[in-house]
Amino acid sequence: MRKTFLLLTLGACVAGAQSLDFPMLGYILAADRVAPLFGVAGAFSIGEPQYNDVLSAAFSGRAGLLKTSGEVLVLDSKGRMTASVVAPAGPALFAFSAQGFAGGALFPAAGEIYLFRGEKVTRIATELPAGEPVALGISGSGTITVLLNRDGGLWKSRFSIVNGQFEISEFVPGIQAPAVFLPGDGILGMSGEGLVVLFPEKARQQIPLHFHPSAIERIGSGWLLLQADSGARYGIRHDQPEHLYELPGGPQ
């Protein structure tokens, strides 16, 4: 114990042991432009847009995935592009690994899935199950899963890389679109009363919300964006969804 304490003391005294920076919450897509979101809960600031003509975007805090008209761009935690991949037309749904790295992309219009493993990209043409895809996720075990909106309810369908197709569809009761997957195999979506958070082996969490968002997007490490029909955008944390913050609007 004494040895450990001495080493800690020494480490803290090393010049440069502390580094300071702006707190980066993530990146948000407004109209077709992606801009950084700085700040802390309740004090946000949107930076200058860095990417234009973006159809879809998602950020984990460690990586970002953007869909433009013809490409998927892979970004690092600072928003710098690290790779680009030719992609089918139309919007995309994105998923990240449990560590927050680029994991997968689903192109509903083309029926294609891209799997990212480091710098390697695997393209798989597949047939989507019935329903409107609303979210893509990668479970802790690495399974690709899509959430489908079918007849007003959500269904979870797992993708078999071996067979190249979606296999088992399972109804997710008491939750509606829009919805997103959360790290730890959770799902955050809507019900008639507000937000619903579901995690395996955990009690369902219900949070009242005064509006029904038109979209829920993953915008950074621990943060989700809720888009209201009024044009207002709200931010919540995965782990504290009961605290709702309005994000700055106006021209981007």
Partner: protein, 449 residues
């Protein structure tokens, strides 16, 4: 006299300089000026205009030394300075305006060097339309001016027969939002020479903005225009909820008029920030607009202002700097000052991670005094007992001072502190960080590694 002159000139060939030719320009088309040219007709008080072009079709430069126009009702509307040298293949343009003072046939002689042509035009007998003694024309609108909402402005319009014969007034029609003809007329009506019909017209806008109307008198169309300005926003109270706030919050702002709005009210609420120091803070803003101003409206008969999105409250972001935020309604100067007190550092997120060389602690938060001086790290073992005889203290004043001086984001910061550990780092299970600034100290929640 005019007829005889025309007949004589018509018999003569157009004699001009060999290289200069005169054309009438109609859009993109050009046609050479004949001995006579009919410019058309214009009502008394109105005008028409024709563009002419003098071309040099020769191989050497030519000089226009004579450019004259003789005849009542005709004038140059833009006459080039003479002499005017035209290079080979180039041209010179000018315009002639016909503006008759009364009905009848008109003619004028146009001369360019040795080229001469007769310009003809006519003005049919029409009723003269005036307002406040000024003749209206179809080209310039009758301006009712700018009025405050709820007010009315009136214009008296006289229709007079100034011709020697009788003219039938068959149509009088007024159209356009906010414009109204108050005089009831029985039409058609024969107007004898030197007789006048008087119309009373008013402009009563219902909303703020610019308006256009039309007045049709027989087949002549006159344009009307007017503008309406919102009256100053009536006395109002700006409220904030919760009433006492601090940095890093999003309280709601509302506006309540002292009495129901007599007319639809449009206003702008602005904010100004005076920091305790000399700092600016871009995170202090109206959230919905993303700026330091936001528009609002109050419906007629209502007292509560409505902001963007139809909501009666709008979020104000109080930022991360201590000082005073002043909200002000533009145009009536009602204000509300909100004190943002200096506080100890606020920690928004604290995270600990194990690295290959030891431990990393990451903190994000804000210091609304920008005066962090000390960091104290207390580590805990697996049993929750503090390790060592006290926290590890770090003088962070210089680092934070340097960071805030260069920062444009208020008191926001993200701190990463690294601790090399060469012993059994797994013995260290958690840590707490105390941050000291000029307003006091704050301690993070227990960080788990």
């Amino acid at each position: 006299m005019t007829t005889r002159l025309l007949a004589l000139l018509a018999c003569l060939p157009l004699i001009g300089a060999a290289q200069l030719r005169v054309f009438v320009v109609d859009g993109e088309a050009e046609r050479e000026l004949a001995a006579q040219f009919d410019m058309g007709r214009a009502d008394a008080g109105d005008s028409i205009e024709t563009r002419f072009r003098v071309r040099n079709s020769g191989g050497s430069a030519e000089t226009v030394r004579i450019l004259t126009l003789g005849g009542a009702g005709f004038s140059f509307s833009n006459r080039p300075s003479i002499p005017y040298i035209i290079a080979p293949g180039f041209f010179m343009d000018f315009r002639v305006k016909f503006q008759p003072s009364g009905s009848g046939s008109y003619s004028a002689s146009l001369t360019v060097n040795s080229i001469t042509g007769i310009l003809r035009a006519s003005s049919p007998p029409v009723l003269t339309v005036t307002s406040e003694g000024v003749a209206l024309t179809t080209s310039s609108p009758l301006d009712f001016g700018k009025v405050e909402l709820g007010s009315t402005t009136a214009r008296r319009i006289a229709i007079t027969n100034n011709t020697p014969g009788t003219i039938t007034l068959s149509t009088v029609a007024l159209s356009g939002e906010g414009f109204e003809l108050k005089t009831a007329l029985t039409l058609p009506r024969a107007l004898q020479p030197r007789t006048t019909v008087t119309l009373e017209t008013v402009f009563t806008p219902k909303v703020a903005g610019s308006f256009e109307g039309k007045l049709l008198v027989n087949d002549r169309l006159f344009r009307l225009k007017g503008a309406a300005a919102s009256p100053p926003v009536p006395r109002a109270t700006i409220s904030i909820s919760p009433a006492v706030t601090s940095s890093g919050k999003q309280p709601k702002v509302s506006i309540e008029l002292a009495s129901p709005a007599a007319f639809p009210v449009t206003g702008v609420l602005t904010l100004a920030f005076q920091a305790n120091g000399s700092h600016s803070d871009p995170t202090i803003l109206f959230v919905r607009s993303g700026s330091k101003s936001i528009g609002f409206t109050v419906a007629q008969g209502e007292t509560r202002a409505t902001f963007s999105g139809g909501e009666t409250e709008t979020a104000l972001q109080t930022g991360t700097t201590a000082g005073t935020i002043t909200l002000r309604i533009v145009s009536n100067s009602d204000t509300l000052s909100i004190a943002i007190p200096a506080t100890p550092v606020v920690v928004d997120m604290a995270r600990g991670t194990r690295t290959s060389s030891g431990l990393d602690i990451e903190l994000t938060g804000f210091d609304n005094t920008r005066s962090v001086s000390q960091l104290r790290f207390q580590f805990f073992d697996r049993n929750g007992r503090a390790i060592g005889s006290g926290p590890v203290s770090v003088d962070a004043g210089a680092n934070f001072r340097s960071f805030f001086e260069a920062s444009a984001l208020g008191g926001l910061f993200s701190l990463r502190a690294s601790f090399p550990v060469s012993g059994d780092a797994s013995q260290i299970a958690g840590a707490e960080v105390e941050l000291v600034n000029s307003a006091g100290s704050t301690r993070s929640q227990r960080i788990q590694f």
